[in-house]
């Protein structure tokens, strides 16, 4: 592992494996309860255990989010749940409740505690408070911090710092939004946000008013963040596709490796930019990193396009090759294939498809497991996408 941790999201076990295989040093995942992405598939304890074993075999880590704001009943359940996470050797929990921080501290539980971005920690004095009072290991900084602010903060503290570098953003301060709850009774602080900030509003009865913000992409200034010696760089998106996770992780991995080898150049940055644009349909902005939000960070028009680059991924099981399709695919179709640990992609042709021991000429259902025969060597979790 490098001195920087690249931390990726994983909504299920396949995504966890993809994230780690494509270059993440750690993943963050949610259990079936207590995490802020109620709509992600999320992991059972058994699946978390499998994920932890997979990660530890690669020398990598698993962080589990336990960051809802619990009520009395949930709080007791969350404590029991943390004990279970300790038993299965999860590396860290991400929490926002002081009761859970205190619980781990008072019981000397052998698990790292990371303060969730929901707590909106954005200065060195608050970091010192959490460290001194609750013995926390790491702070996930608020998304409102600028590079300059982080630089000043770093001089004052010795606590580990994690920041979001890529993905969706709240246009509110994290944890300070009740819009979803108000309009839909879906509480954001319980993991059920309806993204009401991205809806269309009217202002003063006539003018259309959109106040959602663009997704964050840090590639254009990422070297400045690396220069600061931040411990962990986090990608948002536990609900995102395998293609998204593989592409984003791969791009940032490539960048970090080039930075560490002193080989960062325009070509690397252009490659990363291109990869990141291919896997997302929402526009990108820079959030607060450069100090001020400007118009280019805000969504200007309703955009409902979906990204249709991703066509499927490969599983290799008992020497057989399977395709998990995400769209309609025909025999003899050709696609671009990306694989872990390689930057160059290849063109691959699907020469034959077999479903239930019968040859088929197209994929019928998304997520079927279709045995395929192809013209190239493939590996587990290779990703297929449209040729550009």
């Amino acid at each position: 592992m490098t001195r920087f941790e690249l931390l990726a999201p994983a909504g299920d076990l396949d995504k966890l494996k993809v994230a780690l295989l494509y270059g993440a040093d750690a993943v963050f995942i949610g259990g079936k309860k207590f995490s802020l992405r109620a709509k992600a598939n999320n992991f059972t304890l058994e699946e978390i255990k499998m994920g932890v074993e997979f990660a530890h075999n690669l020398g990598k880590k698993v962080h589990v989010t336990v960051n809802i704001i619990p009520n009395e009943k949930e709080l007791e359940e969350a404590k029991k749940y943390i004990k279970e996470l300790v038993k299965i050797k999860v590396d860290a929990i991400i929490v926002s409740s002081v009761a859970l921080m205190e619980y781990v501290k008072n019981n000397n539980l052998p698990i790292d505690v990371h303060v969730s971005t929901q707590c909106s920690v954005s200065n060195s004095s608050a970091i010192k408070f959490y460290k001194e009072e609750f013995n926390i290991k790491r702070i996930v900084l608020a998304r409102e911090c600028s590079i300059k602010n982080i630089e000043c903060m770093k001089k004052e503290i010795d606590t580990e710092i994690e920041i979001f570098i890529h993905g969706g953003l709240c246009s509110s301060i994290s944890g300070r939004c009740h819009l979803s709850d108000f309009y839909t009774q879906r509480k954001a602080n319980k993991g059920c946000c309806a993204h009401s900030c991205r809806w269309t509003y009217k202002i003063d009865d006539d003018k259309k008013f959109l106040f959602g913000c663009k997704d964050l992409c840090s590639i254009s200034f990422f070297s400045k963040l690396l220069d600061l010696g931040i411990n962990s760089f986090k990608i948002e998106g536990r609900m995102k596709s395998i293609h998204y996770i593989a592409s984003v992780v791969r791009a940032y991995r490539y960048y970090i490796d080039a930075y560490e080898k002193n080989m960062l150049n325009e070509e690397v940055i252009n490659f990363c930019n291109k990869e990141l644009l291919r896997c997302e349909s929402r526009d990108y902005g820079k959030s607060f990193f450069l100090g001020k939000i400007d118009k280019s960070d805000m969504v200007e028009y309703e955009k409902k396009e979906v990204n249709n680059e991703f066509v499927g991924y490969i599983r290799v099981i008992d020497d057989k090759i399977f395709l998990i399709p995400k769209t309609l695919i025909f025999k003899n179709d050709c696609f671009e294939m990306i694989v872990p640990n390689k930057i160059d992609s290849q063109i691959i042709k699907i020469e034959k498809m077999v479903l239930n021991e019968e040859e088929v000429f197209d994929t019928r259902h998304v997520n079927d497991k279709i045995e395929i025969f192809v013209d190239k060597n493939v590996c587990d979790y290779a990703i297929l996408r449209k040729i550009k």
Binding site: E144, S172, I203, I293
Partner: protein, 224 residues
């Protein structure tokens, strides 16, 4: 019970107030920057008429604002305490005099009494329960370290983004927004540090009689 009213101006002081909650440069709501000497003056004036003064510092602070806060520290210590949300205040004022109170005044950082009590063991003197959690306390609870906002506007959204300016909309005016498929309207207001969206309707909350702090958070509510 200490009745704390949001301070508006010296000519409009609630008669039954024991204390006033004064906006500061570190408040979530402030639309103007109150200068250091003005603040010092105001604290003295309110003290002269035997009112306590608490300072609203409920913004989550960035590192550069912490540097600024240190400049205000001395003046703040002339007041009776600070209503805050950022734990930086606990760290910065950790050796404060006993009569100066650190009052935790959160948006929604907990939903249980256990968490509120834990905070009282970590340098916080009084905890005001977040809106919607008032029922954690009843007449039988020991309330001497707790407070409740008994009147307030429901804040729906707080952002560091100046959403009106970013959309070239006059940021001095009060505007209403309306989700395109719904009838209800909410107020959107730009402050000197960001944007708030809130409901015009005032919420009035029942409270246990033995509560220590009762906050009339009428900052946006016109009194009559």
């Amino acid at each position: 019970m200490e009745k704390v009213y949001a301070y508006k101006n010296l000519f409009n002081l609630a008669k039954d107030a024991d204390a006033f909650l004064v906006e500061t440069e570190f408040s979530s709501f402030s639309q103007y920057v109150i200068k250091k000497d003005e603040l010092e003056n105001l604290i003295s004036k309110l003290k002269e008429i035997n009112k306590k003064v608490y300072l609203r510092c409920d913004r989550i602070l960035l590192e550069d604002e912490i540097i600024k806060l240190n400049e205000y520290k001395e003046i703040f210590l002339h007041s009776d305490g600070i209503f805050f949300e950022d734990f930086a205040f606990v760290e910065i004022f950790k050796n404060h005099p006993k009569k100066f109170k650190l009052v935790f005044f959160p948006f929604e950082s907990f939903n249980t009494l256990e968490e509120a009590k834990i905070l009282l063991n970590h340098g916080i003197d009084i905890v005001i329960l977040p809106h919607g959690n008032e029922n954690l306390l009843d007449e039988n609870s020991n309330c001497d370290k707790f407070g409740i906002s008994c009147i307030y506007n429901e804040i729906l959204f707080m952002s560091r983004r100046k959403l009106l300016s970013l959309k070239d909309i006059d940021n001095n005016e009060t505007h209403f927004i309306q989700e395109s498929t719904r009838l209800s309207k909410q107020i959107i207001k730009e402050t000197n540090v960001g944007t708030l969206i809130y409901n015009e309707k005032k919420e009035i909350i029942k409270y246990p009689k033995n509560i220590a702090f009762l906050v009339y958070d009428t900052i946006f509510i016109e009194e009559n």
